[in-house]
């Protein structure tokens, strides 16, 4: 008599949906927190409509930069199924190296006499540097590890990230430096009756243009098609006459060039370079890539924008109303909390496949 009783009790325990209970209560808690917090904040009326508008615009601007870096992550992931942890450092290397060109231009007065040419030159230096770093990175740290278990390249990527950070610290020094002022970028433009900082407009427009260019490239060109083919199945792609190594290098180069461009856009917004500047944007871009569905270029762009806006608006909107002190300090809690919520309901992010092809 006792044996069946215990077994049925165990069965009942197994059926006890502990996980589901936690999941549902967590979701309810987050949703309640978000809704109640927002309602309370809005009722308080601390912030005006103009405040919210400027927060959203700020969020979109920084989100555009995240999006460009995230595309680099996602491209590499789509083809190699590895997280290129050192991508943030690729981003840093370009912006930091171009700094010296900008300073040289700034000193000679050329920068403000011929701003377009100068910005073009700075952009090219940054993109070329980042591309070079990305390609060398692939050659030295990742290529010898094709076919190794997937955690191994993750560790070399982490190693490369430290290595690059401290290499640039050794080369250029440890202090933060401000880019010289470019006069044409100062001030605001009025768009649909809203005053927006010029830098923000330029950053968003440039990011959209780069995204369109990349999207066309991947969809239309031969290299782009090879990239998709290699991501789909490396061996078959090789059999179809695609040079796998060259395609992978091309992927790193494109990701690097975008990171280089993102570096300059980042500098337009924040005006500052330091050797650690790649780390946090790197992590955030990685988050954005996952949020959008890693492997998807469009998803990376969406993820970046969403994350940017969430970071800008979230703490004030959700937390001010409930009287949490120093709400902006809790920005990572808000951003990652929403990430968890999204992934609970969309386990593959917005545009990713829910089940990965290769676990």
């Amino acid at each position: 008599m006792t044996a069946p009783a215990t077994s049925s009790r165990r069965l009942r325990f197994e059926r006890l949906p502990l996980r589901r209970i936690i999941l549902i209560s967590l979701s309810i808690a987050i949703v309640y927190g978000v809704v109640a917090g927002s309602a309370a904040t809005l009722r308080m009326g601390t912030f005006t409509a103009a405040d919210w508008r400027s927060l959203v615009i700020n969020g979109i601007a920084r989100g555009s930069v995240y999006a460009l870096i995230a595309i680099g992550y996602t491209l590499v992931y789509g083809i190699l199924f590895m997280i290129n942890f050192a991508h943030g450092e690729v981003f840093m290397s370009g912006a930091y190296t171009a700094f010296f060109v900008a300073v040289a231009f700034g000193r000679s007065g050329y920068l403000n006499a011929h701003p377009l040419v100068s910005i073009g030159a700075i952009l090219i230096v940054s993109m070329v540097t980042s591309t070079l770093v990305a390609v060398i990175l692939e050659r030295v740290a990742y290529r010898p590890l094709r076919g190794a278990p997937r955690l191994v390249p993750l560790i070399t990527a982490i190693g490369a990230s430290f290595f690059l950070q401290y290499t640039f610290r050794g080369l250029y020094g440890a202090q933060a430096r401000a880019y010289p002022t470019i006069n044409v970028l100062q001030g605001t433009w009025t768009i649909f009756g809203v005053e927006i900082l010029r830098t923000q407009v330029i950053v968003v427009v440039a990011a959209i243009l780069l995204w369109i260019a990349l999207f066309t490239f991947v969809a239309k060109t031969r290299t782009g098609r090879s990239m998709r083919a290699v991501g789909e199945d490396r061996e078959i792609a090789a059999l179809m006459g695609i040079n796998v190594d060259r395609t992978i290098v091309a992927t790193f180069a494109i990701g690097g060039a975008l990171a280089g461009a993102a570096g300059i856009l980042y500098v337009f917004l924040f005006n500052q370079v330091i050797f650690t500047m790649g780390f946090f944007p790197g992590i955030k871009a990685f988050t954005a890539a996952v949020l959008g569905g890693i492997g998807s270029v469009t998803g990376a762009a969406m993820g970046g924008l969403l994350l940017g806006v969430l970071e800008a608006v979230g703490p004030n909107l959700f937390l001010t109303g409930v009287g949490v002190p120093s709400p902006n300090q809790l920005q990572p809690v808000v951003a990652f909390g929403i990430l968890v919520l999204v992934l609970i309901f969309l386990p593959g992010g917005f545009l990713g496949a829910p089940e990965e092809k290769r676990a």
């Binding site: 010296f100 076919g147 982490i158 050794g170 080369l171 988050t287 809690v333 909390g337």
Partner: protein, 580 residues
């Protein structure tokens, strides 16, 4: 000679030259020059230049890999070394000369390249001025390159002995902090061996003689020794193995008294990472869940300990009477509660997200790590957790007589913790649970079809990992006594993950070796602190490329990896054929 002047060799030389310049331009050469390898004879910076140039020749003269369809080019290795070394020397010399010219032309080179200091240039030029320096770099490149290449002409035994001896001198010199601590600990004199941070000339000579002779005879006897081991009867071998284990344990027990307080402190930190590594190994190595936010449980452990026992904490401050009466501020009483709290938090965190796979799980766990760090830092929870000002004066574990904050005693504390964790991990790996994890790791859908309850086993792994991780936090709180939020950054998670992968995923000895390499070595390189992370990164990349399966791989996994290798090789061949 013409065969030696091939493009490959010149390229090797250029790579060597770039490496030497890299070391100079990131500031390593100048900074390392402060440290004498052999006091008043040669500094570490100079030695780096020499190693760079000689290494160029040695690498370039490697016997070429036989490749189908390509005729092996044979050239005198000394000549190859000469070509490569000279190329490296010319490149390095030329760049140094250009830098000098720019500086004398009034260009502010240092505003861009911060490490181009007079000290760096003088070290690179061996104190001979720009022109003399450039010439000597070329000359040294040629001589050392040719010499290193000529090593290839020696017999294996001799070459091995020479390289071993040179490495031994360098290591002896670098181990100065440990060895002089050991000598001090045994109250033996050390002035004959070390002076001013480097080896004495006598010490260097003795090292050369001892290492050279030892290695020579060791190599000479190698075949006989292997034979003798092979001939040992099985019961003898198990006996010897047991003796070796016993000796290892005995060694671990006496170690702190041998090496003094600083190395004991380092050992304590290494032990902390062993503990965290063992915990994360359950999650990543056994269950195959990529966790990038393991620091969360470490933080929970430390903070829970602090909150329960520190007189500065809210609980003890406000509810002091109650807590003190019940004896709850005692470290040992708090310990099980802390682990319980961590396990509950582990389940709470794990339950909603364990359905996610691979990199999605990685980013979510990373997020949880950041969330916990932000929460303990926040002004919001500051009244309870201390916020930016931290939790101070966490009492050391009682009884006071044991003084469990002195480095040597702390070491025993962590040794016990690690022993328990290692035992649990070892028993788990071969249990029913361990096999279920292995099945899940290999193929989730198949495991599920075979009746393994994926979520339950994942949760179990996560909860156990959380428990062990919190034990790390408990130890940390006991060891340091002050808990600040910035001790719980993303870097900790990354370090622990690197430790277990570098050591060999799923391998318990691997965790120990990985922790010794990644946590112990950098601590010993403290005096080059600003390059610590650079070297750390380089070591990570180098070891993973040379030994992707880790330093002490788990046997089963190694087999899997090699099966995969064969597969990968196949695909490479296919690729080659497709492209040619």
């Amino acid at each position: 000679m013409r065969a030696a002047l091939s493009r490959d060799n010149v390229r090797a030389g250029l790579i060597g030259g770039v490496t030497v310049l890299y070391l100079a331009l990131v500031g390593m050469i100048e900074r390392f020059q402060d440290r004498d390898v052999i006091t008043d004879v040669i500094g570490l910076g100079t030695l780096l230049i020499l190693i760079g140039l000689a290494g160029t020749g040695y690498m370039a003269s490697r016997p070429p890999k036989p490749r189908p369809g390509r005729k092996p080019v044979t050239a005198n290795p000394a000549l190859i070394g000469l070509v490569a070394g000279t190329t490296a020397g010319v490149l390095a010399g030329a760049v140094i000369l250009i830098l000098e010219l720019l500086i004398s032309a009034g260009v502010d080179v240092r505003s861009v390249l911060a490490s181009v200091t007079p000290g760096m240039l003088s070290t690179m030029e061996f104190g001979l001025g720009p022109v003399g320096g450039a010439l000597i770099l070329v000359g040294l490149g040629a001589a050392l390159g040719a010499g290193a290449g000529a090593l290839r002409l020696l017999s294996d035994q001799l070459r091995d002995t020479v390289t071993f001896t040179l490495t031994a001198v360098l290591l002896m010199s670098l181990m100065e902090p440990i060895l002089s601590a050991v000598l001090d600990g045994l109250s033996l004199p050390d002035r004959w061996l070390y002076e001013g941070g480097g080896l004495t000339v006598l010490g260097a000579v003795l090292t050369v003689v001892a290492a050279g002779a030892g290695r020579w005879f060791w190599k000479e006897r190698e075949p006989q020794r292997k034979e003798a081991v092979a001939l040992l009867p099985a019961d003898r071998r198990t006996l010897y193995r047991k003796l070796a284990v016993f000796a290892a344990v005995a060694f671990l027990v006496v170690l702190p008294w041998l090496v003094g307080s600083f190395i004991s402190d380092v050992l304590g930190t290494v032990g902390l990472y062993v503990l965290l590594g063992l915990g994360l190994n359950i999650v990543v190595g056994y269950a195959g869940l990529l966790d990038l936010g393991y620091v969360a449980f470490f933080a929970v452990g430390a903070y829970a300990t602090g909150v329960l026992t520190s007189p500065a904490s809210y609980l003890v401050r406000e509810e002091g009477q109650l807590f003190a009466e019940k004896g709850l501020t005692n470290f040992w009483v708090a310990l099980p509660f802390v682990v319980l709290i961590a396990v509950i938090i582990g389940i709470l965190i794990g339950a909603p997200v364990l359905r996610l796979r691979g990199d999605y799980l990685a980013i979510v766990t990373l997020g949880f790590g950041e969330i916990i760090r932000t929460l303990v830092l926040s002004d919001w929870l500051a009244p309870y957790l201390g916020g930016a000002q931290g939790l101070l004066n966490v009492p050391p574990p009682p009884p006071e007589a044991l003084d469990l904050r002195a480095p040597q005693n702390v070491y025993y504390l962590i040794l016990v913790f690690c022993g328990i964790a290692a035992f649990v991990a070892w028993r788990l790996s071969d249990s029913r649970i361990g096999r279920a994890w292995a099945a899940m790791r290999e193929d989730e859908s198949v495991a599920e079809a075979m009746g393994v309850s994926i979520i339950r086993y994942k949760l179990l792994a996560f909860a156990m990992g959380a428990g062990v991780g919190s034990l790390g936090g408990v130890f940390f709180a006991a060891k340091i006594g002050s808990i600040f939020p910035n001790s719980f950054g993303l870097l900790v998670s990354i370090n622990v993950l690197s430790v277990i992968i570098l050591g060999g995923l799923g391998s318990i000895p691997g965790v120990i070796v990985g922790s010794a390499v990644l946590v112990g070595l950098p601590e010993l390189l403290r005096e080059f602190a600003e390059f610590r992370l650079l070297i750390y990164g380089a070591i990570l990349v180098a070891i993973m490329i040379l030994r992707p399966e880790g330093l002490v791989p788990n046997k089963r996994r190694q087999r899997e990896l090699h099966a995969r290798d064969a597969e990968a090789e196949l695909s490479v061949i296919v690729t080659d054929e497709a492209t040619s």
